[in-house]
C-alpha cells in the first residue's frame, strides 16, 4: 500500500512538473527558444504571489488573478525588448542571454528577499485530504494541482490547434518569412507566445510556493524538472509533456520511497534512460 501511495503521489506531483514544462514546451514549439531563465521565472512568480498575499492579505489562489497578468505582461515585454533581438540562426545568443537573465533574477531576488526560505500559505486546503481507500488518503491540494495541470494543458492544446492565435503560432513556427507575408507581425506573435508561457509560469509558481518552501536559488532545479518532462514526453507534444511530468513524478516518488536522498537522482536517471533508448522522447511530434 505504501508503494501504491507513493506512485499516486508521484502521478499527482507530475502535474506540477507538467506545469513547469508546459511554458517551456510552448515557446520552443513557436520560436525554437529554450529559456534557461524559465525556472527562475517560476520562482519569481512565487515571490510576486508572496508579496501580493502579504501586502493585500489575499489568499494565494486569489493572488493568481494578479500574478497571471503580471507575468504575462512581463513575458510580452521581455520578448519584445530583449529576446526578439537574440533570435536567429545562431543558438548562442538566446541561450546566453536567458542564462544571464536567470542569474539576474536569482540574484535580484536574493537582494530583495534574502536567502530565507518562504512559503505561500493557502489556508486549510493545504491539509485537507480525501480518503479513497482504507489505507489511501490523498491530499486535496495535490489533486487540485493535477486537475489544474490537466486543464492548463487542455487549454493550451485548444489555443494551439483551434484558435486563430494558435494558427498564427503554428504558421510562424513553420515558416517565419511566409507568415509575415500573411500580415503577421513576428515580433508581436513571439511576444504573445512568451506572454502565454509566462502566464502558465505564474500558475506553476503559485502552486510551487503553496506546495513547498522556496528560496531564490531553486529556479534551476525547476527548469531541469520541466526540461526533463518535455524531453521524456517528446518535443512539441503537450499531452506528451503531461505524460513526461507524470513519469518524472513517479520516478522521483519511487526513488524517495527507497531512499530519501534518491528522489531527484531517480528522476535524472529515468530521464537519461529515456534519452538512451528513445532519444526523441516517448511521444515526439516535431523535429529539433
Amino acid at each position: 500500500m505504501e508503494w501504491v501511495n507513493a506512485v499516486i503521489q508521484g502521478i499527482l506531483l507530475g502535474g506540477l512538473y507538467a506545469l513547469f514544462a508546459a511554458g517551456l514546451s510552448l515557446i520552443f514549439g513557436v520560436m525554437r527558444l529554450v529559456n534557461i531563465a524559465h525556472g527562475d521565472l517560476i520562482v519569481l512568480a512565487a515571490y510576486i504571489a508572496l508579496t501580493i498575499a502579504t501586502t493585500l492579505g489575499l489568499n494565494p489562489f486569489l493572488a493568481l488573478l494578479i500574478v497571471i497578468p503580471v507575468m504575462a505582461g512581463l513575458g510580452y515585454g521581455l520578448q519584445r525588448m530583449v529576446l526578439n533581438q537574440t533570435l536567429g540562426d545562431d543558438i548562442l545568443p538566446p541561450l546566453l542571454v536567458t542564462f544571464g537573465l536567470s542569474i539576474i533574477i536569482q540574484n535580484g531576488l536574493l537582494v530583495l528577499y534574502t536567502a530565507d526560505p518562504q512559503k505561500l500559505s493557502a489556508g486549510p486546503i493545504e491539509v485537507a485530504s480525501l480518503t479513497i481507500a482504507p489505507n489511501l488518503t490523498l491530499g486535496v491540494l495535490p489533486i487540485l494541482m493535477f486537475a489544474v495541470a490537466v486543464a492548463v494543458i487542455a487549454g493550451l492544446q485548444w489555443v494551439f490547434y483551434r484558435s486563430a492565435l494558435g494558427r498564427a503560432f503554428r504558421a510562424v513556427s513553420d515558416n517565419q518569412d511566409v507568415a509575415q507575408l500573411m500580415g503577421l507581425n513576428k515580433a508581436h506573435i513571439f511576444g504573445l507566445a512568451m506572454a502565454l508561457s509566462l502566464a502558465v509560469v505564474g500558475i506553476a509558481g503559485v502552486f510551487l510556493g503553496i506546495r513547498t518552501s522556496f528560496d531564490p536559488t531553486i529556479g534551476s532545479g525547476r527548469l531541469i524538472f520541466g526540461f526533463e518532462a518535455v524531453i521524456i514526453g517528446g518535443l512539441g507534444n503537450l499531452w506528451g509533456t503531461l505524460a513526461g511530468g507524470v513519469i518524472l513524478g513517479v520516478a522521483q516518488a519511487i526513488g524517495a520511497q527507497i531512499n530519501p536522498g534518491w528522489q531527484v537522482l531517480a528522476g535524472h536517471i529515468v530521464f537519461l534512460v529515456v534519452l538512451a533508448i528513445r532519444p526523441r522522447g516517448l511521444f515526439p511530434r516535431i523535429e529539433q
Binding site: 527558444l33 545568443p93 537573465l101 542569474i103 537582494v111 531541469i224 537522482l265 538512451a276
Partner: protein
C-alpha cells in the same frame, strides 16, 4: 580577379611576434612568483590560471565546436572528487593524481557524450546540466567521501605534497600554472592542426561541413572528450588548492559554469584571445565588486546580456574589428602580393 598563385599566406604578423616575446617574459616572471609574490597573491594568481584554463576550454566547446554546454561543472567536480578519492583510498600522490583524475573525467565524458549528443542546440545545453546534477547528487550519496557535507584532504596527504607550507604552496602554484600553459598549448596546437579549419567549418555551417566529408559527430566527440579531460584536471587542481571538497562546491553551476561563460562572452567567444581578456576583466571586476554579494552577480549578468546584445563578438572582437590585430596567428591572412592590400 586574383589567381591563387598571386596570394601569399602570411601567418605571422609583427603584433604576434611582440605578443610572443612579451608572453615569454611574462611566463618567466610568473614562474618565479613564489620568490617575489606573497601567499595571497599566489593564491589569486593560481585561481586566475585555472579560470583562464576553464574559459579556454569552454570557448573551444561553444565557440569552435558549437557544443554549448552549461554543464562543464560536471567535470570540474568529478576531477576534484577523483583527486580526493585517488589520494585518500589509492594512496597516490596528489600531483600524480591530477592527470589520473583527468583521465577518469575523460572516460566518463565518453559515456556522457554518447548519451547527450542525441540532443542538439539548446537542449544539449540543458542535457549537460542534468548530467552535472546527476553527478552532484551521486557524490552526495558516497559516504566515504563525506556524503552531502563533503570532506577535507587528510593532513598526512597534504604534508606529503612538499616541504613546509611555503614549499607546498609553491608546488601547487606551479601545478596550476603548468595546467594553464598545457591547456593553452593544447588549444593552440589543435587550432593550428588540420582539425582547426574543420572545426570552424562545423561551427559556421554543419550541413556544408558534412557535405565536405567532415565526420561531424567524431570531430565533436573528440573535442568534447578532450575538453572534458582537461576540465577534470583543472577541477583536480582547484580542489587540491582548496584542500576541501563538497558536492555543492564541486558541482557549483555558478562558480564553474556561469562565471566561465561570463569570461568568454565578455572577452569574445570563438577567439583565442577572448578568454584571456575576459579573465582579466572578470578578476578586475571581482576584486573591486565582490563585496557587493548578490548585487555583484546581478551586475555580471547585466553586463553579459548587454555585451551579448550590443557587441556579440566581445571585447576582443571589438578591438580586432577596429584595429585588425591578432596575437595568436591562427587565421591565415591572405595578402594580394601585387597590391599588398588585405582582401
Amino acid at each position: 580577379m586574383i589567381r591563387a598563385s598571386e596570394i601569399s599566406i602570411v601567418q605571422s604578423s609583427r603584433a604576434a611576434w611582440i605578443a610572443g616575446l612579451v608572453g615569454l617574459l611574462l611566463l618567466l616572471a610568473l614562474l618565479a612568483a613564489p620568490y617575489w609574490a606573497g601567499r595571497a597573491d599566489m593564491r589569486l594568481l593560481s585561481e586566475i590560471y585555472l579560470y583562464l584554463a576553464l574559459a579556454c576550454l569552454w570557448n573551444i566547446l561553444a565557440g569552435y565546436a558549437g557544443l554549448v554546454s552549461v554543464g562543464q561543472h560536471a567535470y570540474v567536480g568529478l576531477g576534484g572528487y577523483m583527486l580526493f578519492a585517488l589520494a585518500m583510498f589509492g594512496g597516490i600522490n596528489p600531483l600524480v593524481a591530477i592527470p589520473l583524475a583527468g583521465l577518469i573525467g575523460g572516460v566518463a565524458s565518453m559515456l556522457v557524450a554518447v548519451l547527450i549528443f542525441r540532443l542538439s542546440g539548446a537542449y544539449f545545453a540543458i542535457g549537460t546540466w542534468v548530467v552535472a546534477e546527476t553527478f552532484r547528487l551521486s557524490f552526495a550519496q558516497v559516504s566515504a567521501l563525506g556524503g552531502g557535507s563533503g570532506t577535507s584532504l587528510p593532513a598526512g596527504i597534504v604534508t606529503a605534497i612538499g616541504d613546509g607550507r611555503d614549499g607546498r604552496e609553491a608546488i601547487i602554484y606551479w601545478g596550476s600554472l603548468g595546467i594553464a600553459v598545457l591547456v593553452l598549448a593544447a588549444i593552440f596546437l589543435l587550432l593550428r592542426s588540420r582539425q582547426g579549419p574543420a572545426l570552424k567549418a562545423i561551427r559556421d555551417n554543419e550541413l556544408a561541413a558534412r557535405s565536405l566529408g567532415i565526420d561531424i559527430w567524431r570531430s565533436k566527440f573528440i573535442i568534447y572528450v578532450g575538453a572534458s579531460t582537461l576540465t577534470a584536471m583543472v577541477g583536480a587542481a582547484i580542489f587540491l588548492q582548496k584542500l576541501r571538497i563538497s558536492p555543492d562546491a564541486a558541482f557549483s553551476v555558478n562558480d564553474w559554469t556561469a562565471f566561465v561563460i561570463f569570461i568568454v562572452v565578455i572577452g569574445g567567444i570563438g577567439t583565442l584571445e577572448g578568454p584571456i581578456i575576459g579573465t582579466i576583466v572578470f578578476f578586475l571586476l571581482r576584486e573591486t565588486l565582490a563585496d557587493l554579494g548578490p548585487s555583484y552577480q546581478l551586475i555580471l549578468g547585466l553586463v553579459a546580456i548587454v555585451v551579448m546584445l550590443r557587441a556579440p563578438q566581445g571585447l576582443w572582437g571589438f578591438v580586432r574589428s577596429h584595429y585588425r590585430i591578432e596575437l595568436f596567428p591562427l587565421t591565415p591572412r591572405a595578402i594580394d602580393s601585387q597590391s599588398k592590400k588585405d582582401i
